[in-house]
Symmetry: C2
Subunit: 381 residues, 2 copies
């Protein structure tokens, strides 16, 4: 039995003010190509299908079309759960109709929930939940941490689980480690939102969502697939993939990967402004990538973001090495240097640094008037 494990699609995501829907559409096409090639028996989506509880209608249409293509047109069963970004109610609306087409959309875990059986493998979908609702549904007052709540859920599932067949846990949580079952670590984790990976050892495979890196856990049977694509610059160096999970008749698991490649990558570049604006350099670059640029220049620069965007239209974030260095100095030397200077003096220094024109008496008079006006206002209030 073979299934594809993916998660964290975040449809409708806005990165630095830019909607990623078109990029998501393209990566989903790649996913569908993988499904055509692999012909799996199921697709598992481990939460965060949408980026927010009320996604934009473009994202609603994209999810509808995607699930339709995979589930109805290609006839592939889908096991999906809601993540912390989804609205469990809105996402699971209509779930009982979907089941008839082997689309299993779960928004809320309930103790009497039956596993989803596909080709002899039993899937146990457990959507993201705060401890509160689990505490209520199990009537166990002591479930205050995510770890304890998940432990109680897993115990409830394992209680009724047939261990003679392969069992797959599908979850959306912040799971730590998993390679050891160091109880001290688990205790220290208890209070936070983390869950100890050892909980999932009874399962043949655990398909997780929440962390965006496919390497967030290194374990034979406990896996994050990572997100559909890069959603922040902290993910710039992560590879993006889906996991292909095969369970043979003896219940042994093999996990391989298939890469996903967004047409517009998200990456960081560093350099001097003049260098980055040089055709020799930029013609070697994929200029429409989503970029975080760090400028190494020391001096003042006139609106570098605007200059850079003429060449790199999708600069999302700009950093100056200089600015950072100044910031650290300021706390010691530069504060002293300011002492005894008038506001006019300080402004003159600033003006010299950020413009190329000369300071004049006329400008000084104008500034004096403005400062006086501001001070009068301050006195009144």
């Amino acid at each position: 039995m073979k299934f594809i494990h993916t998660a964290d699609w975040h449809l409708g995501k806005l990165v630095h003010g830019v909607y990623m829907t078109e990029d998501q559409k393209q990566v989903i096409k790649e996913l569908i190509d993988i499904l055509i090639e692999e012909q799996p028996d199921a697709l598992v989506i481990a939460g965060d299908l949408y980026d927010r509880s009320v996604p934009p209608t473009d994202a609603v249409n994209l999810l509808n079309d995607t699930l339709h293509t995979i589930n109805v047109d290609m006839n592939i069963p889908i096991v999906a759960i809601s993540g912390n970004h989804d609205s469990s109610e809105r996402l699971s609306f209509g779930a009982s109709w979907y089941r008839k087409s082997n689309l299993y959309m779960t928004g809320k875990w309930l103790p009497n929930q039956q596993p989803v059986e596909i080709k002899g493998v039993r899937f146990h979908p457990v959507p993201f939940s705060d401890p509160g609702p689990i505490r209520e549904v199990l009537q166990q007052k002591d479930l205050t941490s995510h770890h304890d709540a998940m432990k109680a859920v897993v115990e409830k599932i394992v209680e009724k689980m047939d261990l003679s067949v392969p069992n797959v846990f599908v979850g959306h949580a912040f799971v730590l480690g998993g390679s050891t079952s160091d109880s001290e670590r688990t205790l220290s984790v208890g209070g936070s939102g983390c869950v100890g990976g050892e909980l999932f050892l009874p399962f043949t495979y655990t398909a997780l969502g929440h962390l965006h890196s496919p390497d967030a856990i290194k374990h034979d049977t406990i896996h994050y697939s990572g997100s559909l694509m890069k959603y922040s610059f902290s993910e710039a160096k992560q590879r993006k993939i889906v996991k292909v999970v095969e369970i043979n008749e003896e219940g042994a698991v093999t996990v391989t990967e298939k890469p996903l490649k967004a047409e517009r990558d998200m990456r960081e570049i560093k350099g001097y402004l003049q260098e980055l604006m040089d055709e020799e350099f930029y013609r070697t670059q994929k200029r429409d990538d989503f970029l975080k640029i760090t400028l190494l220049d020391d001096g003042a620069l006139i609106d570098p973001m605007n200059q850079l965007r003429q060449i790199y239209p999708n600069v999302l974030h700009l950093e100056r090495k200089l600015a950072l260095r100044d910031q650290s100095k300021r706390t010691t030397a530069s504060l002293d240097a300011r002492e005894g200077k008038t506001d006019i003096d300080l402004f003159k220094e600033f003006y010299d640094q950020v413009t190329t024109s000369d300071w004049s008496l006329q400008k000084e008079n104008k500034l004096t008037t403005v400062l006086q006006h501001v001070r009068n206002k301050e006195d009144q209030s």
Copy 2:
């Protein structure tokens, strides 16, 4: 063939700040009782299932449960369209899965749309739409009014329609008249959001939503069902019903009604405050109804809303006959009466009217200080 025609459920509606979800739940139970009794071949919901494009999750759950009971548990086919209050994208998410269970949810009309056939009757669902999208989809630039857009849609449907079987139009629009086909009237209607009823004469029955009164149109075959319950005081005197539509083998239509009765009615009462607060009176009343109260008292009253709510917890709106009368006077006589009076004089008059305590020199001094403080602030800005 028999079907029930309903519309304008407005789940998630907030009336004067009060969520109606519990009341809606109760009326929907009545609807389900009617379905059990009537055993119809279909249920038609002619738009505005929700009150807004992003309804509260309670309303999402209520619609999910209701459709599930009717469609899955009772196995009754449902033909539903989105109204102007619904988000067509969000409501029709999953529509292709629903179709397999004979739940036909249409969010957008398309020219190649096939009718829904149930027991030999063909339903033509046309969700609410502004002229814009219809203009685009039909590539007819001249469709600027609702009437023209609807005319084009109907023509497109009638073109391919088999007139030898009964055809039911399901729409959500502001339809006028319908008993005559007076082209002048139609023209005068053109510019507004209205649609001439004569457009629907080719259909065996036209099931409309949008207007909340079941009597909005008096016509043999063109009908509004009206809303599920009263949603404003302008509907206080309307009856609330569903229509039971039977089409016999010759294609003849019979329409009867079944009443819906919200447990808490929405109604108006008028009287003097003392009278309404008198036990003799209020024990004859259903005190938890949603009320608009018009007080006939002439003099000043101290916080009458608060007093009334001790007895009638769901007073939603309070009107004073006096206040209205004063308002009309003010433009003529009372403005003159104010001339020459100081702010202190005017405040004293107001104070005497709304309190039972006496005016004092101490109070006058306090007021003078406050007024001076306010005036100083005004001078400064």
